[in-house]
Every structure is written in C-alpha cells, then in structure tokens.
Symmetry: C2
DNA sequence: AGAGTTAATGAAAGCGCTTTCAAAAGTATG
DNA sequence: CATACTTTTGAAAGCGCTTTCATTAACTCT
C-alpha cells in the first residue's frame, strides 16, 4: 500500500492570477466579482474573461477571513439515526438554499477525548450561527455561546431557563390532549399505556405531563406503571411493551411517542395474540411516511417536521440579518385518524 | 419589526490576545496550541492558562488560509428527501467523526440562477474533498474537478467513463439475480413487473439490465410493457401500478426499485382487490426499517446503506491521507425473505 | 482655458493564523 | 575559557481576499 505520499491537488488560480491576466489590479477583480463598485464596461469584460479562462473561484477561507464571516450555518445534531431527520434536514436546506449560506452538519455524540477547543468548534468558529437539535449539546456550552451572543436557534427544546434563546417545537400539550381525549371519549379506553421517549427528552417530558393532566381532567386515574420508557426505535417499543405484557399489567390502549416505536409495539401485541384495535387501540406520533401502510393503518399525530426545520433555519437567517425574532414558536400538531385507534374508514 | 440592526456577536479573543496575556509571542502560542514544536514547561503553562481565561478558540478560516486546508469534507446530494439518506449520512458521520474533518452538506437541486462561481463552491473551495451522491451534479463538473485532481468519491454511480474516479455502489446485478430467480424458480412467477426508478438513475439502469438478462437466462421472455417507471416514492409506486392495472396488463409479481415505492404498490393492489402474495407476489429493495412491519411483511433486498456511507467516507479520507485506494467497490446485497413473495414463515 | 467634480482604478493595510529563519540563551566540549 | 552545538523564542513573511484611501483620468461649468 502506498502510504502518505501526499498528493496535493493542483494549485488553483487566485485573484492575482486573474488580475495579471486581465491586466488590472486585484482590487478591480474583487470589485467585478462581488459587484461592490462600478467598473468600466471593457475592464469588466476582460476580468470576466480572464476568470473564465482560469476557471477561477474565490477561495472561501480567504474571503471569510477578510470579511469576518463564514457564510456557514452549523447544524448540531445528536446521532443521525432517526427518520425524523430526513424531513427536518430537507426543511432546513430549503430555507438555506436560496441564501448565500451553506450548511455545516455536525452530529455530536461528542467524544470526550477531543481537545476541549476542538469539541465545540462548530459553535464558535466555523459558523456564523447554529441550529441546535435537542440533546446534541449541554447547557453549559449553550450558555457560553449565549453569553457571547452567538446566533442560535434551538430545535425541539427551549434551552436553559436563564437564557432566552429562540426555539421551535411542537405543541405537545395540544397533541396529547387530542390523543387522550380521542381514546377516552370516542373509544372508551381507560387504561392507556404511554410509551415515552428517553429520560431528559424535552418533548417526552412535556408529553408525559400533558398526558397525565388530560387524563385527570377527564376523570381517569393514570397509573405510573403504564408509563414506560422506550427509545424512539422499533425494537425499543417492542421490548417495552413486551415487558408490560410479561409483568401482567393490563392495558387497553397504547400511545407511542413515535411511529417507529409503534411498529415494534404492533409486533409485540401480535405475538401476544392481542388484536389491534379491538383488544388494544394504538396511536402514534409523527406520521412518518409508512404510518398509513401499517396493518392496521396507524392513527397518529401528524407533526410538521419539515416545516419546523424550515422555520428554524428561517429564524436563524433572520437573526443573522440583524432582526430580532420571536423567542418561542410552537407548531400545531394534528391527529390523523386511521384505523389503529378503533375508528372505521 | 426591528429590521437590519446588525448586531455582530462580541469579538472573540485572537491568538494575539492570548500571546499578550501570557507575555509571549504569537508563534509560541501557536506552537503550544498545535504542539508543533517544543516549548518550555512554564511558558506552556502560562499560555494554556491565558487561553483558558480568554476561552480562546482558533479561528478556523485563518488557520485554513494559512495551511491551505479546510479540514472539511463536502457531501453533495440531490434533494434530501428519501429515507435512504439517514443511514447513509450516519455511516459517513461515523467515519468522519474520529478525524479532524468536518462535514459540509450540500443538497444541490442546483438553482440555475446562481452565479456560476457560486454554484459549485463546495467542490472547489470549501472542502478538501467530496462525496458525490448519484444525480447530484453533472458530468461536466465532475470532469473539471477530476482534472484538477480534486479528491472525490462517488456514491452509487461510477461517473464518466473517461474519468476513473473511486466509487462505491451495490452489487445490483447479484441482487436482481436473486430476486428474479426466487420469483421464477421458487414461486413460478413468469410475468414480473419491474418498477424501476427514474431515467438516468445509475442503479436503476444496472438493475433493469440485470433483470432482463436473468429472465432470459431462465428462459422467460421479458415484456417491455412490464418495465415501468416510478419515482422511488410511495405515490410514485402507487400510480405506476395503477396505470398498469388500468391498461389491463396482467402480471403475477412486482419487483419495486425500493421499499418506499412498495408501500404504494401495496395500496394500489389492495384497492384492486388483488391479494399479496397469492395474486401478485412482491419484492422490494433496500430493507428499510419498516419493511418487516408491512402487511404482509415485505420480502426485500437488503442493501448496506450505512456501510456504503462509511466506506465511501473512509475511502475519501484515505485519499486525503495520500493513499491510492481501489477505484471500484461493490457491496454485496442479500435477499431477505419474508412473506410478500409467497414464502411462509 | 482653468477650477471644480465625479468616476474608475490601484496601492496597501489588515483579517488571524502558520511557518521559516534568525537570534538568544543555555550546554557540552576541547 | 573560548568554541561549537542545542534548545527555546521571537520577528516577519505570507496565505488570498476585502476595503479604505489616495491617485489619476475624464468631464462639467463658468
């Protein structure tokens, strides 16, 4: 194997090369490239031609250094596993594309061995602002960046109380209200299992609270043993429900924190010979693309993930443009009724 | 609304600030930060302390400019819609994380209004190398970058014949062979509809070829009207099959280019009161997470998407390290037999 | 025709860092 | 104690660009 023969790509044309070829100064080249000052007709032509011939493209780092901007937006995520991610990123991209900014994605299962100054590079240096997904960083760093007035928008959590950082999330309370009311009022279920996400997940916490409150409001007692922890994954859902089944805890409905977990729950229930929705009704969250194709088609809360991504990026862009946006945005969610809850077509 | 009061974040500490505070020169600071030359014990201490106090972090653009490297890997994708994307990106990230590189994601439904020098910035300037997803750019640009010896790895296509750029893809031929043989040999199907992806999609073209060849080898005539075009989406699959149905073209099996389309096909078949697999057997491609939870569970080709992402990134990193990797890598795929093909548990 | 403007251009500084080169300080050697 | 090395440090150049400021050229008016 041919190790470490460092083969640098051919040197690129610089602004000086263009200037020389066009017979002008580099200032002039800069001006025609950026259209920052009037330049005479023929000089402009010459410069453009020279640039074309050398297939010149400005060197980003140099430009960034000079203007003290990176034209980059950081996107900080925990691991990129879930299906949530595709529509979210799509939304972000759609907002960013028409601008001069680019997207720097950073999945941050932060390795602790990293040098401290390397770890958070995205937040502090390689970007002009950043979009922070829930659970992708700690409060301390968030606070540090906040104090430096580093532009940020938070996704699906609101950040430290003391900070007041703009954020975007779903209206979890309303969603839960819809779910619980539907299950209790329409289908008469009273023993609803709630398969929540991991501890510390902001949305999950909110939902759990709303779950219990709505139940109480409807005069149904909620039982702690029916609130179980999953992983927002298929196997997570499967094993959580299996555990409930094994412990002999009765329930007549299950609400899962996301659709992916719902597939696992379905598998577990089927294995236990429980019919959906007759024996146990099911409702999911997210309305992922396949939800309607499950068996039975999954009733679920539709959450506008792509829109959330789009709005978050838009918000950040507006901050970068010097505007002062609203701090909190809650996106409405809506119950999509299919058949897993017991409704007929 | 408070428009365009440009509020720059507070100025950060620079290397000179640290140097001043520590009472040394900036060269020395640079040396301790990067550990590029021996520095006496106490000076090192002083510098580290000063850096800590000012919470100094080097400015990436400046460093990049000086070392003529961006430490960034570009990832060029078409739109980020599909579910394919999450595992792919996960693989890429896993390969990139332990290194000093970062990931610059660029979804390139290139808008034609962009200035020509802006359009391709990722390829030429903001990254040290790039991962190019199929259909995310045109041959011309690929060739330009190739001639400049810009490090690239192609994902799921092999690029222009003349270029010889390293690439990673699936072993489509083998996959198709498995599918067709299974359908023909095990289940005796002879009228297999092939729902392929968009025209110009490299994988789709390869698969179509293998599809026809295998059929011929098995002595089954293939009919052009059974090869239909979809979109790698659920609705795309649905309408394609619906069209077949409407035109009264008979088939006893359908192979879809991906699992997402398969969900649509299932819907269309069900609507036509055709039973799966009795009336028409089905096989998908990709083995997306939900495939096993469809009704009936989908027999499909499992493609190691995450691994492909990981390997592609690894390959690019090795190029950046000066090694010369293999040009072509084909990842094996495997038929996962569930029930939509007609097999029993 | 000369003074006063205006438009187009270039020279040069500076963005924050790395890195080469030389100087200074310390150590070993004859 | 002078000489020859080492080791540690600083000065300064340069990476490729933007931008300010000064200069020159070209007009416009009286």
């Amino acid at each position: 194997m041919n190790t470490s023969i460092v083969r640098r790509p051919k040197p690129r044309a610089t602004i000086s090369d263009v200037a020389r070829l066009a017979g002008v100064s580099i200032s002039t080249v800069s001006r025609v490239i950026n259209d920052t000052a009037p330049v005479s007709e023929d000089v402009e032509q010459r410069v453009r031609q020279a640039a074309e011939m050398l297939s010149y493209t400005p060197h980003a780092a140099a430009r960034n250094l000079a203007v003290r901007k990176t034209y980059m937006i950081g996107l900080l995520l925990p691991e990129l596993g879930n299906n949530f991610f595709a529509p979210l990123l799509r939304g972000v991209e759609n907002a960013v594309r028409p601008t001069e900014y680019q997207l720097l994605v950073h999945a941050s299962l932060r390795s602790l061995e990293d040098a401290p100054w390397r770890r958070s590079s995205i937040g502090e240096h390689n970007a002009d602002g950043m979009l922070v997904f829930v659970n992708s960083t700690d409060e301390e760093e968030l606070l540090r960046n906040y104090q430096r007035e580093f532009p940020m928008v938070l996704l699906f959590f609101s950040g430290p109380r003391s900070a007041n950082i703009p954020h975007i999330g779903f209206d979890n309370a309303s969603g839960l209200r819809q779910v619980v009311e539907h299950l209790v009022t329409v289908h008469g279920r009273r023993q609803i299992a709630f398969l929540r996400g991991p501890v510390g997940n902001f949305d999950s916490d909110e939902r759990e609270m709303a779950f219990c409150q709505t139940l109480e409001r409807l005069g149904v007692a909620w039982r702690p043993e029916l609130i179980v922890r999953g992983h927002y994954t298929s196997v997570g859902g499967e094993s959580a429900i299996q555990a409930l089944l094994d412990r002999g805890i009765a329930f007549d409905a299950v609400f899962t924190g996301d659709d992916e977990a719902a597939t696992g729950v379905m598998a577990a229930l089927r294995r236990a010979n429980l019919r959906i929705p007759e024996d146990v009704a099911m409702i999911g969250f997210d309305d992922l693309p396949f939800a309607g194709y499950l068996n039975p088609p999954l009733t679920t809360i539709q959450a506008p993930v792509e829109r959330a991504g789009f709005l978050a990026a838009t918000k950040l862009l507006s901050i970068l443009a010097g505007e002062i946006p609203e701090i909190a945005t809650r996106l409405p969610v809506e119950l999509v009724i299919r058949q897993s809850c017991g409704c007929r077509r």
